[in-house]
């Protein structure tokens, strides 16, 4: 029996030739094989699974983008909230100034034409006993102009800049004002400091407690009749009566003040 032995490369070529013929037959017939249909049925779920995985990855990417956008919006809203809070604070402060200024002008109608309305910019009530207001030389403020709040006298201008002025409060140790007690004869000197007091009253003067103390204007700074404080229990000294005074103006609450022009007293 003859043994058919072919070289592997020749047999490969022969198989290829056979495949060519088979291909030609398939092309003529134009129908798919059962194996191809079976493979397609097997491969279809694979493609679908990849499609699902890709869709999941896209959803994750979109979700991440949305998350980043939401975080950016949150940051933006936080910043806007801070800005609005600042604006609200400024507006509330301006409203307070306007209200106080309105009350102030209502309390001293006679000064409305000549007084300068100013807002308090800063205050140092314990260290230097001063306030700084936002009106200065450019607005007509002069040294020794009287400064009043709604309740009464706060002090006087002791330093003037171009755009601002410093107010020395009556609580300053060096502050002083000519004053009188309503219903009591005689003029006294109100001395400032931590415990303001009236000095210079004649000996043995009876001063009722809780009597209003007002300016007399004789020192040439304050207009007469401005409220300064309320008397406490007087102490009769060797020569003069000393009366403690509680100042009525509260510099810690003042946000708007009136600067009254300096009074010129004829020598």
């Amino acid at each position: 029996m003859a043994r058919l032995a072919l070289r592997p490369d020749l047999s490969l070529a022969l198989v290829c030739l056979g495949l060519y013929v088979a291909t030609a037959a398939q092309v003529r017939l134009g129908s798919g094989t059962a194996l191809a249909v079976a493979y397609q049925a097997f491969a279809q779920p694979v493609a679908q699974a990849v499609g699902h995985l890709t869709a999941l990855a896209q959803d994750l990417a979109v979700g991440r983008q949305d998350w980043q956008k939401t975080l950016a919006q949150l940051q933006q809203l936080k910043e806007e909230n801070q800005r609005l809070a600042r604006e609200n604070q400024i507006l509330a402060s301006e409203l307070l100034i306007l209200r106080q200024a309105h009350e102030l002008l209502g309390s001293f109608p006679s000064f409305q034409r000549q007084a300068i309305l100013a807002a308090v910019v800063s205050r140092d009530l314990l260290g230097t006993h001063t306030l700084v207001v936002n009106r200065g030389r450019r607005h007509g403020v002069e040294r020794d102009s009287a400064v009043v709040a709604t309740e009464g006298v706060l002090g006087r201008v002791d330093l003037v800049w171009e755009e601002a002025a410093r107010v020395q409060l009556l609580s300053h140790p060096a502050a002083a004002a000519a004053a009188r007690v309503v219903g009591v004869e005689g003029e006294a000197l109100l001395l400032g400091g931590e415990r303001p007091r009236l000095e210079g009253l004649p000996p043995y003067t009876e001063v009722p407690v809780k009597s209003p103390v007002v300016t007399t204007g004789s020192e040439g700074i304050y207009a007469p009749g401005l409220p300064l404080g309320i008397t406490g229990k007087s102490e009769v000294g060797a020569m003069f009566t000393v009366v403690p005074v509680t100042l009525v103006a509260r510099p810690e609450d003042a946000v708007a003040v009136l600067l009254l022009p300096r009074r010129r007293v004829a020598p």
Partner: protein, 168 residues
């Protein structure tokens, strides 16, 4: 056996690459050809040819095409790559890149020739052939890079180097 398993994986990947959610260019890649190229490394030409023939037939089946043209093309590609790697002593990344380029070129040319000689319309035009060439070459490059990376960290040489470093 190893290459039969790789061929099965390649056909599954080929099917996965046709998913509509993936870029259309990926479906043109002949993943099975990369396995044929891998089989052709260091193997006799006829062995690579037979493997290419089987792989091509499977590829035809998987794409619902007439069974045969890709088989013939795969056989010629296997033989061509095996011969080229022997003659030009191709090795390393160069083998993969040139091998995939050569195999895809042969496959596309042979397939087009078979269809043209039978008077049947080819499954794709020259644009598809160009996409297949570019895509498969890229896959060959990626395979070369992976092989290089694998050898860099997991080869016996790399293990020996790491062991020496630890002893110092």
């Amino acid at each position: 056996m190893k290459f039969a398993f790789l061929l099965l994986v390649a056909l599954l990947v080929q099917a996965a690459l046709t998913a509509p959610s993936l870029p259309w260019l990926l479906s043109a890649i002949h993943v099975w050809l990369v396995v044929v190229v891998g089989r052709a490394r260091g193997a006799p030409a006829h062995t690579a040819g037979w493997f290419g023939l089987v792989a091509g037939l499977a590829a035809d089946l998987s794409r619902g095409l007439p069974v045969g043209p890709s088989g013939i093309a795969g056989a010629l590609a296997g033989v061509g790559v095996a011969r080229a790697s022997t003659v030009f002593e191709l090795a390393g990344p160069l083998f993969w890149v040139i091998g995939t380029l050569l195999a895809t070129g042969i496959t596309e040319a042979v397939t087009a020739g078979v269809y043209a000689s039978l008077g049947a319309p080819p499954p794709h035009s020259w644009l598809g052939a160009a996409a297949a060439l570019a895509g498969t070459a890229c896959l060959g490059f990626l395979t070369a890079a992976l092989e290089w990376g694998w050898g860099r960290f997991f080869s016996p040489d790399a293990r020996r180097r790491r062991a020496l470093r630890r002893r110092r």
